[in-house]
Structures are given as structure tokens and as C-alpha cells.
């Protein structure tokens, strides 16, 4: 019986750890991009390694949470949803890691003129992910507050789209000095940064439905 074991307590701690990992990875993502744009490569490498270890830890926690929930028959009615939510959130941390690796492997050349715009893009995209986490935590304690918390996710996601659109337009319309391959490469990198907020929105959609189900 759950009351006689520490499974419940351990699972709650694992869930919190998982969210903390994702939260930290978004912070690392921001700092890593700033370091890259400032050409501070040692700092960028350090952040990349940190993101890598956070992602591995999140994967382990994700697997343990899923196993615990299934084997101890925890939250039987919401288990499918919760597992799906954790998978969606895990995709965010995967996205962070893969984007940073893209920078590490491809070493995109970002014109000084675009540095601030790129930092801004990373900020709003990471903010969408960061705002998702309080809502995800609230699902477990105060589900009736989830939807209002998710409003910020949707706001930052649309902001990310706008910033990305402006940035792409700037690159393709106002920077004739760049060749097409360079432009395409920058667009590809923008797309990667933008993906973090898209993943956050996808998880927010799921979470929104879950909150309705649990409140009714």
C-alpha cells in the first residue's frame, strides 16, 4: 500500500528534480548562446557540457518516473497524460541540447549586427519554456491555476515567432552582403532556437487539456 512505502514521496521528489533539470537547462541555454555570441568559447563549452549532463539526468528521471508510475499503479486515471507531459517537456531539454550542439558543430557565423536580435530570440524562446514549468508544477498542486499560468507560455511563443520573423526578414531583405548559403544557415539556426518555444507550446496545449480534465 502506498502509505506504507516511500514510493510516493520519492516520486514527488523525482518529478521536482525533473522540472528543476529542465528549468536549469533553459538557463544554461541562454547563457551558452550569450557566451557564443560574445565569442567566449570556453564558457560556451562549459555550458554545453552542463546542458548535456542535465539532459542525461532528465532522461534517467523520466524513465524512473514512468517506471514508478506503472509498477506502483500511481495516478492510474491520469498516468497516460502525465507520462505524455513529461515526454513533451523532455523534448524541450532535448531541443536545448541539440541546438547547442548545432552551434558547437557548425559554428555559425553570426554578424555582430545581429547579436542582440539573436540574444533576444533566445531570451523569449527560453522564457516560453520557463513559464511552462510553474504551470506543470501547479498541475499537481493547484490544477485550477494552470490555465492562467499557461497564458504566459502562449504570449512568449507568439513573441518568439515575431522576433524570428523580423530577424529572418532582416537577414534576407536588408543584408545583401551575406551570400545565400550564409543566409540559409542563419535561418536554420533561428529555426532551431525558435523550436524551444514551439515545443513549450505543444506541451502547454497538452497541459491545458489535462487541467480541464482534472478540475471537472
Amino acid at each position: 500500500m502506498p502509505v506504507f512505502t516511500r514510493t510516493t514521496k520519492k516520486l514527488i521528489i523525482k518529478l521536482d528534480d525533473f522540472f528543476d533539470n529542465v528549468d536549469l537547462s533553459l538557463l544554461v541555454f541562454r547563457e551558452a548562446l550569450k557566451a557564443y555570441l560574445n565569442k567566449d568559447m570556453p564558457s560556451f563549452t562549459r555550458h554545453l557540457q552542463k546542458a548535456d549532463s542535465l539532459e542525461k539526468n532528465a532522461d534517467r528521471l523520466q524513465r524512473e518516473i514512468e517506471n514508478d508510475m506503472i509498477t506502483h499503479s500511481i495516478l492510474p486515471q491520469h498516468r497516460g497524460d502525465v507520462i505524455q507531459l513529461i515526454e513533451q517537456i523532455d523534448e524541450i531539454i532535448d531541443g536545448v541540447k541539440s541546438t547547442l550542439y548545432e552551434f558547437d558543430i557548425e559554428i555559425p557565423e553570426i554578424p555582430q549586427k545581429l547579436s542582440n536580435s539573436f540574444i533576444n530570440l533566445a531570451e523569449v524562446s527560453a522564457s516560453a519554456g520557463e513559464e511552462l514549468l510553474p504551470a506543470a508544477r501547479a498541475y499537481f498542486k493547484t490544477p485550477f491555476t494552470v490555465r492562467e499560468k499557461l497564458l504566459k507560455v502562449y504570449y512568449f511563443e507568439s513573441e518568439t515567432d515575431k522576433v524570428a520573423y523580423d530577424l529572418k526578414k532582416l537577414i534576407f531583405h536588408e543584408m545583401p552582403e551575406l551570400d545565400l548559403a550564409h543566409k540559409a544557415h542563419l535561418r536554420y539556426i533561428i529555426h532551431h532556437i525558435e523550436k524551444i518555444s514551439d515545443l513549450a507550446q505543444k506541451a502547454a496545449d497538452l497541459l491545458s487539456g489535462m487541467a480541464i480534465k482534472i478540475v471537472i
Binding site: 500500500m1 502506498p2 502509505v3 514510493t7 510516493t8 514521496k9 516520486l11 514527488i12 518529478l15 534517467r60 524512473e64 517506471n67 509498477t71 499503479s73 500511481i74 495516478l75 492510474p76 486515471q77 491520469h78 498541475y139 499537481f140 498542486k141 493547484t142 490544477p143 485550477f144 482534472i214 471537472i216
Partner: protein, 411 residues
């Protein structure tokens, strides 16, 4: 021969286990909060305890309705009720054995020309109406309370559900105990006057004749729960209304309270001592109570999720089952009496004399057979349950080890 007659009671017990007992854990299993196997084991143990320790109260009411005074009659009444119950279980209708047995006793009264005590019958029918209404009321009040509590304390969902799960097991055990106490009379009540067994001393408790029969009936019920109650549990747990975890707890709790109220002589005496009218000790229809509880919650939530078609079918089954059971008893009694020449009631003094001689002659051997039967089943049941828990534990440990191995390899 007398033990052969008892088999119909055991069959009725099995069908009661398959149908009525599922009412207690139906919502818990249907909402997936408790696994079927765990529910079946807990329900079996507590059902037997309730039957043996507190089962005599309601059997008097059934005796008043119609005192089936011949073993052939008891056999036929139990058989007809068992068949009716089995058929309803087969089609997954949550009816109660109470309905089937009351119908069967009235069938016996009609066949033998005995009068049906209309006062007792009206008390039973009134309890059938009051049961679901009280159940619905309890369910709504408890549901409101639990929702407010959950919102107020801001407890973590996983912790809350783990409390609910523990609560479901405890309340389910209480419900099984109450149902055992309330409904065992349906299974063995008609045999109690026909048996006079020696007291059975188990060391920690001495069982009288009726309690030994109730224990035997309890084992039959436990078999019914373990082998055939899954279908009805599913109907109750998810077909009428999709129940949330807290609603499942509320349903079981409300049902257990209603059953406890209608089977606790002590509670009734307490009420009388403070000037309240006595609570009738009536075998309440647990299916009606639980359906009442589920409807209560459904109505509170706005009635939009209630599947009224399923509900209509269940209501129809409630009307059909006592009628069908009564008719079946009537026809079976006709064949028993005229085709097999078995006495189904003692109207003449000669009959009674023969019967008493027969019972007296076989008393000692029957007592011994039943004693060893009960001890054998008890030992077998205990070993089976222990083995089950050990195997479950081993399975969990194996899984944990394989998980640890996986992460070791990953490193």
C-alpha cells in the same frame, strides 16, 4: 444427502460473490485505483469476517418473511436465487442477491400456501427504496466535503491519490465486512433452521452452528469474488459514470455506511436509547445502494455524464430479478415435489418427525465433515494468499533489479 442440499446455498454464495461483492470494490477497480487481484483478496477476507462475526442480525428478517422449514425447500429456494443471480451476472447487471432470495422465498410461500408476512415484505421493499436514496445523499455530502478539502489543503496530486488509494482499501475492507454481515443471511439464512451442528472451537473463537454455515457460505462467496466478479466490477466502475479517484472512494464509503446502518444491531439500539425509532435489520440491496451513490455524484456533477441507457437496463433487471426468481422457485418446487418426491415444506406432524430423526442421525458426521471442510479451506486460503503476496513481492524486486542493471549498463 443433506450436504448435497447445501450445494445450492454454496452456488448462491458463489453467485453472490460474483455479483454483490463486486459492488464494494467495483468503483475502486473500475477507476483503476486498486488492482482486481488485490481487491478480490481483501474483499474475500473481510466478507468472511463480517459474515461470521456479525451475520446473524439480518437472517432473522428473512426467516420472518417466510420460514423455509424443509431442507428440500431451502435447496430449491437457494438454487432458484443462485440461477437468477448467475444469469444477471452473466449479462453484467448489478442486481442483488437480496432481490433474488426475497423473490424466491415469496415463490416458496406461494407454492406451499404459506402466507407472506406483508409487514416484513414492506419493510424490505422500503429499505430497497431508502437504501439508494440515503446512499445518494451520503455520497453527495461526502463528495462535496472531499472536493473542498482537496482544494483547501493544496495537497500534491500524487500524495492525494495515494491517500485515496489507501482509503479505498480500508473503506473497501469495511464495506466488505458490512456486506458480509448484511448479506450472508441471503445465502445461508434458509439453511440455518435445517442444521444443528456441534460448536466448533478454533482456539481463539468458538463458532456455533449458524456461524459455521456462514463461514462455509463466506468461502463460497470468496470463490465467487475471485473467479467471476470482474465483469460486474467493470460495469459499476466505468459503465454508468466515469468515476474519478475521489468519487470512487466516496461511493464505497457511502455504500459501506448504508450497509452498516442496516445491519448493526448496536447502532439501532443506540438510536432507540436516545429516543429514535429502531433501524430495521434488513438485507439491503447493495447494488441499489451503490447505483444510488453513483447517480448522486452524477447528479451533483450535472447529470450530463450519466449513461441513462445503462441505468434503465439496470433498473429493469432489478424488477425482473425478484419476479424471475419467484417464478423459477415455484416451478422448481413443483418438479422437486412431484418428480423427485422431495418434501419442500413441513405441513404435517409426520413430516416433522421424519425430518427430526434424519437430522439427529446425521448430526455428528455432518459436524465432523463441515469442521474438516472449514479447516481445510481456511488453511488452503491462507497458504494461497501468502503465496500471492510473496510472488508479487518477488516480481517487484526483480523489476527493481533489472532497472538497476539497465542504468549500470548505461554508465
Amino acid at each position: 444427502m443433506i450436504l448435497f442440499f447445501l450445494t445450492s446455498g454454496l452456488f448462491l454464495g458463489w453467485s453472490l460473490g460474483a455479483n454483490d461483492a463486486s459492488h464494494v470494490f467495483g468503483s475502486a477497480v473500475g477507476s483503476k485505483m486498486v488492482t482486481f487481484r488485490k481487491a478480490a483478496i481483501i474483499a474475500s477476507i473481510f466478507f468472511i469476517l463480517g459474515a461470521v462475526l456479525q451475520g446473524s442480525g439480518t437472517s432473522h428478517t428473512l426467516s420472518k418473511l417466510g420460514s423455509v422449514n424443509a431442507i428440500g425447500g431451502s435447496f430449491t429456494v437457494a438454487l432458484a436465487a443462485g440461477i437468477t443471480n448467475y444469469m444477471m451476472t452473466k449479462f453484467a447487471f448489478p442486481i442483488s442477491t437480496t432481490q433474488a432470495i426475497v423473490g424466491a422465498i415469496i415463490g416458496w410461500n406461494l407454492f406451499t400456501g404459506n402466507s407472506t408476512d406483508s409487514k416484513t415484505l414492506s419493510t424490505i421493499v422500503a429499505a430497497w427504496v431508502a437504501g439508494p436514496v440515503i446512499g445518494a445523499l451520503f455520497a453527495v455530502l461526502l463528495y462535496i466535503g472531499i472536493r473542498k478539502f482537496k482544494r483547501h489543503v493544496k495537497i500534491h496530486l500524487i500524495r492525494f491519490e495515494s491517500y485515496i488509494k489507501t482509503g479505498l482499501i480500508i473503506v473497501g475492507a469495511f464495506g466488505s465486512y458490512s456486506l458480509g454481515a448484511n448479506n450472508i443471511a441471503n445465502v445461508m439464512g434458509v439453511f440455518v433452521p435445517a442444521f444443528n451442528l456441534n460448536d466448533l472451537d478454533l482456539g481463539f473463537i468458538t463458532l456455533n452452528s449458524a456461524q459455521q454455515l456462514f463461514l462455509l457460505g463466506g468461502f463460497a462467496i470468496a470463490t465467487g469474488i475471485i473467479t467471476y466478479s470482474w465483469k460486474v466490477m467493470d460495469t459499476l466502475g466505468s459503465n454508468i459514470l466515469e468515476l474519478s479517484a475521489e468519487a470512487a472512494l466516496v461511493v464505497v464509503l457511502a455504500q459501506s455506511l448504508v450497509l452498516f446502518i442496516f445491519s448493526s444491531s448496536a447502532l439501532s439500539a443506540l438510536g432507540v436509547s436516545i429516543g429514535l425509532p429502531p433501524i430495521p435489520m434488513v438485507p439491503v440491496s447493495s447494488s441499489q445502494v451503490i447505483v444510488g451513490c453513483i447517480i448522486g455524484i452524477g447528479l451533483y456533477k450535472g447529470a450530463r455524464n450519466i449513461k441513462f441507457k445503462v441505468l434503465g437496463e439496470i433498473a429493469l433487471a432489478w424488477i425482473i430479478s425478484p419476479v424471475a426468481s419467484g417464478l423459477l422457485t415455484f416451478f422448481l418446487l413443483f418438479f422437486m415435489k412431484n418428480l423427485f418426491g422431495i418434501e419442500v415444506d413441513h405441513n404435517s406432524a409426520a413430516d416433522i418427525t421424519v425430518s427430526e430423526d434424519y437430522t439427529t442421525l446425521t448430526d455428528y458426521s455432518i459436524s465432523a465433515i463441515i469442521k474438516y471442510l472449514l479447516l481445510g479451506i481456511s488453511i488452503f486460503g491462507t497458504i494461497g494468499t501468502t503465496l500471492y503476496f510473496l510472488l508479487e513481492r518477488k516480481k517487484k524486486r526483480d523489476l527493481q533489479k533489472s532497472e538497476e542493471r539497465f542504468w549500470m549498463n548505461m554508465k
